[in-house]
Symmetry: C2
Subunit: 220 residues, 2 copies
């Protein structure tokens, strides 16, 4: 049987691996983890089942690799602290974080199926999300939390840091999750690169004003 035949040199190539990741991303985004079949993916990738076994193992590990791959592409394109070191002012680091995070989640070509795949994962999580949180989301969260802590001052509790960090993340993610409503409610809102810069400026300024107010004890 084809599925148990030893993979040929082509099936083991990095090029095949890449084609499998791209085809799998499209199909998993269209149908979801449970409905999609490895058979359909290898057909679209012009590969065979043996190549999936060779590169990824079973369907669950294959899917997890696809989720990690998509996140990796996005983070590589938009790093959280672009060109800024730890010695930069916290306000500048916050602006850089927001700009980068928003660009990453609103970029349609990151790859194109990434947004839909993540929406599915949020609505109907699989074990791939556990891994993604530990390997990719938590480090980014800790990076943001360190900026927020620097802005709030050392008297801020862990809970306050967490609530403020999630208020910042929530403002950004909203434009992705609620895009269908935003574009109906406000057809004038644009999602191109220039608009992302404007949105990021607003979210960073709004959040900085909130954090300064909180640091002064304006919070509850």
């Amino acid at each position: 049987m084809k599925a148990t035949a030893p993979p040929a040199a082509e099936a083991q190539s990095p090029r095949t691996r890449q084609r499998l990741l791209e085809a799998a991303g499209e199909i998993f985004a269209e149908r979801g983890f449970r409905e999609a079949t490895v058979r359909e993916i290898v057909k679209r990738a012009g590969a065979n089942i043996a190549s999936v076994n060779y590169h990824f193992g079973d369907k669950e590990r294959f899917y997890s690799a696809v989720v990690a791959y998509a996140h990796g592409c996005a983070v590589e394109k938009y790093p959280s602290d672009p060109g800024l070191g730890k010695e930069a002012a916290p306000a500048d680091r916050l602006r850089a974080f927001v700009h980068s995070f928003l660009s990453r989640i609103l970029d349609e070509g990151r790859p194109a199926w990434h947004g839909k795949l993540m929406s599915r994962e949020m609505a109907d999580p699989t074990r791939a999300l556990d891994r993604l949180v530990e390997e990719s989301i938590r480090p980014q969260y800790l990076h943001l939390a360190s900026i927020v802590r620097a802005l709030l001052g050392r008297r801020a509790t862990e809970e306050r840091v967490r609530l403020c960090a999630l208020s910042i993340v929530g403002q950004c993610l909203f434009y992705h999750h609620a895009r269908a409503v935003v574009t109906r409610l406000h057809p004038q809102v644009k999602y191109g690169p220039a608009a992302v810069g404007r949105l990021a400026d607003h979210i960073a300024s709004f959040s900085l004003a909130a954090l300064r107010g909180s640091a002064k004890g304006a919070g509850p």
Copy 2:
């Protein structure tokens, strides 16, 4: 054929209408508008196709009625301005709005399938969303915008009011949309009624501090 037979008195009753809405909500939330069949819904509701025709018309209008029904239940349970008139202080009106909005989107029994139905609608919108935006979401948005305008002062532009209102909505919706990540990242975060009060206090305080900072010209 059953489907074209004149509906019996039972099929035309408000009780049947209610059973159809509940069964349809569950099934549309499970499978999505396109995959779900009216046949399956009437079976679960213990009704017949003629009763759907009688109460709703075609599948699209049936679905739209289900989406509107779910929103209506949630808004009725958690009105946007609970017990506060237009003469209340804008900060109190903002606190009331945030508390009510957050309670509404985090209440699991509103009905239980409402959250999943809305997540599907966001990821893959149908024409039901157009109607929902005009009939329900836009009035709520305008209510929030009037509070934000009162807090920002009359010199604030329409764009600034919109950006600030969406920053507030985004912080709330995040706890629904990204719940799968929040509970993995912070297992200590709770979603019960007491926790909702605490979250709402934070979001309202964070936003009030941001709006006061903006009103003073701290924004860009």
